[in-house]
Symmetry: C2
Subunit: 172 residues, 2 copies
């Protein structure tokens, strides 16, 4: 009798804990991010906005943009980037070129990160929605929607540049 | 009388020297390269094949390809690259990111280099035609058609990779 009461109580407490924690996010390859942002279609074919080499975590990056972002980058009018702009940052581990000892080239794919501009919808995070998919299998990053605090925290020092690290390249 | 004869002789020798040296190549912004390769149209909008960081000459690069080259790169069938492939290597001086001390980003544009695949036409240089345009004003590189020996010399160690240094990236 007491055992049964204890197990009922445990079940009730578990139920309450689930309600408090909110629904569990079920990550699947290519699924939407925990904040609801879907993996943008066709980003592999977007045009180049920039590149960078981070020597702290040994990664090489290419930053692509959708048509709206590319048009904005080429116009130079980026304060702010226009609504509808999407930036895609593709990240690879860096490796030394086998035939050029002082050249670094992309190795294994690490992740794809996106910034989606919608000033009203994402007002709480500088007008940008953030999302990341990890690895070749494109697993959405983050346990729940709070993962964006990590993205936004890192981008906050760039507030005066509309939260963007990327330097759009000049291509004649 | 003797002075006139000397000056006639000098003019004649100059004419012979010009004949031996061949016609002078007149470099103008955006003009064809000395070997006749024209600046490919629309390359700014081509898709990404790779990126690299050369720490010996402090440059960051993005390698774009025309449709044929991108299709080949994604298929992985690059021995050899198919005729009609064009690779565009865009090169910038590297600079340190002002808000991320260990990140390197593109600064001033240096030049755009192209490799044009035509196994028959460019048989003497591994099946590739080479050309380079320097700076934002896109001055064709090279005093005469022999400039390709410099390009080909540097690419010759990559003979077993169809003379290509670029590692095509994986993008999921």
């Amino acid at each position: 009798m007491i055992n049964k009461a204890i197990s009922l109580l445990a079940a009730a407490l578990g139920f309450v804990a689930m309600l408090v924690a909110g629904p569990q996010y079920a990550a699947e390859p290519g699924a939407a991010a925990p904040n609801g942002i879907a993996l943008p279609e066709g980003y592999r074919d977007w045009r180049v906005i920039g590149t960078s080499h981070r020597e702290d975590n040994r990664t090489l990056r290419v930053i692509l943009g959708n048509d709206k972002a590319v048009a904005a980058a080429r116009s130079g009018d980026l304060h702010p980037w226009p609504d509808g702009s999407i930036l895609a940052k593709l990240v690879w581990q860096d490796v030394t070129h086998e035939a050029w000892a002082r050249a670094t080239v992309p190795g294994e794919f690490v992740h794809a990160e996106f910034m989606v501009k919608d000033a009203a919808r994402y007002a709480a995070t500088g007008g940008w929605g953030f999302a990341r998919w990890t690895g070749q299998e494109q697993m959405p990053y983050g346990k729940d929607a709070d993962f964006v605090q990590e993205c936004f925290g890192c981008h906050t020092p760039r507030k005066n540049n509309d939260y963007v690290f990327t330097h759009p390249v000049t291509i004649p």
